[in-house]
């Protein structure tokens, strides 16, 4: 036994060493491939966020003409200021500031510096306060998109004049205004105060944000109670038979049905059969509720399941009825989990676009909805509309709208994580 040295395996032989190196090398390869895969995913995310921020940040400021304007009494009737010639007033405001523009063959060119909406801003100001007529007031008027791009440095002045959106002369006139100190770039509050517009310089998200809020509210009011009711029934009361099996399979499948199919359902049933109006947040919210329902049911069932049976048995033991156990003990203990799941479901619903497109929430609507039954857009559909618009200014508006949407989503998810960590118990 002891003299069988010839049969001893030589662990240090060159062949074994080579084999071991090969094995270690393949370990290294697999590890690097994994790291590479994660790096690709990370760089995709970085590219996504980076491109959105770099194109979106200019939209958070807006170039304005900040001037003292005399509200010329000749242009309007103090008894009926609404019919005044505010177009002329806006024109005068620009013309008076341009030292060398009076000789311009075309005064329209001067008016074009201001946004098309500037005259209405002036009108609304005067109508709200007719005492201003004849006075000199400080006004802040948005300039047109082309000049906004110019002031933000997105117009390359080296490109030939005929393919540039602004002629040399137009740039020269605008530079006079800049030199006169009349141009400023304050934070773009209009982005949150205005509804949609054809002119990018005054288009805002107010209508979309309110529309989304109404739709989410309707979605929550419908899906939260129904989802919890269904989950409690399935988890605590339903007999284990074929029917409850079927309901379970059905709910799991519903969670994986493409969202556009829910849009078809909403369109055919709510609008086609019940004759509800198109484009309204109420119908949008109902459609989203159908989508969110399975998410809430699944989350609620998981939360209820995680409450230990000892709680139920203790309550039953002191004489509580089955429903008293559920509503008095299990449900309150499961609530943090349920709320977390619900918020995550609502965050998904907030970002959902396709079903809202099908029920017409991509209409062009220039006023914010005042009830859930008024036509409106939602944030994601507004992003879709702007992404489709050809004007240069809408590119950065789209990115800005996406950043706003992502901010809402991150906030909602942060609340969900906070709830989970603060209140969820480990048994």
């Amino acid at each position: 036994m002891t003299d069988s040295t010839a049969e001893r395996f030589d662990w240090a032989s060159p062949e074994i060493n080579a084999h071991l190196r090969k094995r270690k090398r393949s370990q290294f390869y697999l590890k690097s491939l994994g790291l590479g895969a994660i790096a690709i995913a990370f760089s995709a995310l970085a590219l996504l966020v980076g491109s959105l921020i770099s194109t979106g940040y200019p939209a958070f400021t807006q170039t304005h003409l900040v001037v003292e304007a005399e509200i010329d009494p000749d242009l309007m009737d103090p008894d009926n200021p609404r019919d005044g010639d505010f177009r002329q007033l806006a024109r005068d405001i620009v013309t008076n500031r341009v030292i060398d523009g009076a000789d311009t063959d075309n005064t329209d060119r001067l008016t074009d510096i201001l946004s098309n909406r500037a005259q209405f801003t002036l009108r609304d100001m005067v109508v709200a306060n007719p005492d201003l007529i004849g006075e000199t007031v400080d006004v802040e008027l948005p300039v047109a998109d082309r000049y906004d791009q110019l002031y933000k440095g997105f117009v390359n002045q080296n490109t030939p004049e005929d393919i540039r959106r602004l002629s040399d002369r137009e740039i020269e006139i605008f530079d006079q205004l800049v030199d006169g100190g009349y141009v400023a770039k304050p934070f773009n509050w209009d982005l949150f105060k205005n509804a949609d517009s054809r002119f990018p310089e005054v288009a805002g998200l107010k209508g979309a944000i309110i529309g989304s809020a109404y739709a989410l509210l309707v979605c929550f009011v419908l899906s939260f109670p129904v989802g919890i009711g269904a989950a409690i029934y399935l988890e605590e009361f339903a007999p284990k038979n074929r029917i409850s099996d079927l309901i379970e399979i059905n709910i799991n499948n519903l969670a994986a049905v493409p969202s556009v199919v829910f849009g078809l359902l909403g369109l055919a049933v709510f609008i086609g059969w019940f004759g509800l109006p198109r484009s309204v947040p109420f119908v949008g919210g109902m459609t989203l509720a159908l989508m969110t329902l399975p998410t809430i049911i699944i989350a609620t069932r998981a939360a209820i399941k995680s409450v230990p049976p000892s709680i139920r048995e203790a309550a039953l033991g002191v004489g509580a009825s089955k429903q008293q156990v559920v509503f008095g003990h299990v449900l309150p203990l499961a609530m943090p989990g349920i709320l977390t799941g619900t918020i995550i479901g609502l965050a998904q619903a907030l970002g959902e676009t396709a079903p809202l497109l099908l029920i017409g929430m991509n209409a062009f609507i220039t006023s914010a909805p005042s009830t859930p039954f008024d036509s409106a857009t939602a944030l994601p559909t507004q992003i879709f509309i702007w992404a489709d618009s050809p004007e240069r200014g809408f590119v950065s508006r789209t990115s800005a709208a996406i950043l706003v949407l992502l901010t809402f989503l991150i906030t909602m998810n942060a609340i969900a994580i906070f709830l989970r960590q603060k209140f969820e118990r480990k048994w």
């Binding site: 994994g34 895969a37 995913a41 491109s51 959105l52 994986a256 969202s259 676009t353 396709a354 994601p380």
Partner: protein, 458 residues
């Protein structure tokens, strides 16, 4: 008036609760031995009022506009509606509605003005009726509930019976969603197949849904063959899966086997962010960054590329699916029993060999299930392809071509003009039916594989 109805409902519920609570308390104070606590008597009355009245209001609101519309149509002189399509009648109705709303454009015909007035009257009447009916029903239920208060009335059991039924109703709603999807899709699909032969749709190789909507419009006669649309869907989904599967699997393997807890704590949430980004954002990302980059890249090699190639849309979709696959694979690897792993390491295998030769094969069913679910996602994904893929259906499998998908066609066919009376609109529902059935089959297969696999080790 709807608000009034809800206010009536709300106050009746409170009144019912208080009335029965006090009646029960009075009985108890009078020395009766009550079966149920006072609160159950109150709760019983509240639910007795709430449930039927609430359903009355909901049903009224759902069918109100439909019935009013029928009544208005009946009042319109029939000769005005002769030989008019559904679309035209819808236009007339919306004009009448805006007249009733006080927005009169131009000088509408006399009968339209009358119909507008009639609509307004009906709307007012309907509101009044609703409020009156709500009040009557609530009062009736209040009376019935109040009559039942007695020492031996089992109010708790009564209350729990109602609550139980409400919960069953909630569970049935979940079924009704599926029933609703199937019913609405089959109904419209059936109407579509009355206009377009079934086999032309299933086997046709030409998809040109632009049919003339009005008589004078000049357009080609539509062709509704779903094969090229379907092919485009498969091309884009394949591109997405080719990108998402290796990256997702490799990152799951790294996270599961090589990464320490700290790396996992950073990487997993970041991947979850990727999964939480709305698809409309990915769509914009595709047209803003990826498509121009691809075009420049192609131009560098002398290949002229369109801006809406299958590669751009599929690539971005692949990025979206990475976290989906990686989390499924991570779960599947984690579900393999520890003993298998320990055994492999104990006989001297490296961790790479353990993953590749022991854990991965054992986790394959779970991983396949996850990949199938990702495929179903890729097929049903809408916004990325609506924004970044093409509109024209082509018989091609070249990912550098522009192709269209089922979801793109559904959305473009239904945006804007949607009267449910022409094959163009209805074909969207037929496509939706195909999409629903396809994803349903893939989902069922995936869930079954995942479930079966779990049972092996449990």
């Amino acid at each position: 008036m709807t608000l009034v109805a809800f206010l009536i409902l709300f106050s009746a519920v409170i009144i019912g609760y208080v009335l029965n609570l006090r009646a029960a308390r009075a009985l108890r104070d009078g020395g009766a031995r009550m079966h149920s606590l006072d609160g159950f008597h109150g709760g019983y009355a509240a639910l007795m009022v709430l449930v039927p009245t609430f359903f009355l209001i909901i049903f009224w609101l759902l069918f109100e506009s439909y019935i009013i519309e029928l009544l208005v149509m009946a009042a319109i002189p029939p000769e005005e509606l002769l030989e008019k399509g559904v679309g035209e009648i819808q236009l007339i109705m919306s004009e009448i509605r805006s007249i009733a709303g006080g927005r009169v454009f131009g000088e509408p015909a006399e009968w339209k003005m009358n119909a507008g007035e009639w609509l307004e009257t009906l709307n007012d009447l309907s509101g009044l009726f609703l409020a009156a009916l709500t009040a009557a029903l609530a009062a009736l239920m209040l009376y019935i509930a109040r009559r039942r208060v007695a020492a031996d009335f089992r109010a708790r059991q009564g209350l729990e019976r109602i609550v139980h039924r409400i919960m069953v109703g909630c569970a049935i709603v979940a079924i009704f969603v599926t029933v609703g999807i199937v019913a609405s899709l089959s109904f419209e699909t059936f109407r579509f197949f009355q206009m377009v032969p079934f086999w032309d749709f299933i086997l046709g190789t030409s998809w040109e849904p632009q049919i003339p909507i009005r008589e004078e419009q000049i357009a080609a006669e539509g062709a509704f063959g779903m094969v090229p649309v379907f092919l485009g869907t498969i091309v884009i989904a394949t591109v997405a899966m080719v990108i998402a599967t290796p990256i997702g699997l490799l990152s799951a393997i790294y996270l599961h086997e090589f990464a320490n807890a700290r790396v996992r704590a950073v990487v997993k949430p970041v991947l979850e962010i990727l999964a939480g980004v709305p698809t409309v954002v990915y769509g914009f990302f595709a047209i803003l960054v990826i498509a121009p980059a691809l075009r420049n890249f192609g131009a560098g090699f002398g290949i002229p590329l369109e801006s809406n190639t299958a590669l751009a849309a599929g690539g971005v979709m692949g990025i979206m699916l990475i976290p989906f696959i990686s989390s499924f694979a991570d779960d599947a690897l984690g579900a393999v029993p520890r003993s298998l792993r320990d055994g492999s390491l104990a006989v001297g295998a490296t961790s790479a060999e353990t993953v590749a030769k022991v854990l991965f094969p054992a986790a394959i069913p779970g991983i396949v299930g996850g990949i199938l679910l990702a495929v179903s996602r890729a097929i049903g994904e809408t916004m990325i392809v609506v924004m970044a893929a093409g509109l024209i259906a082509r018989m091609t499998i070249n990912p550098l071509d522009s192709v269209t998908t089922v979801t793109v066609q559904i959305v473009t066919l239904l945006i804007g003009d949607t009267a449910f009376d022409n094959p163009k609109t209805l074909s969207a529902f037929a496509l939706g039916m195909v999409l629903f059935l396809m994803t349903l089959m893939i989902n069922i297969a995936a869930l079954r594989i995942v479930r079966k696999y779990r049972e092996i080790y449990d």
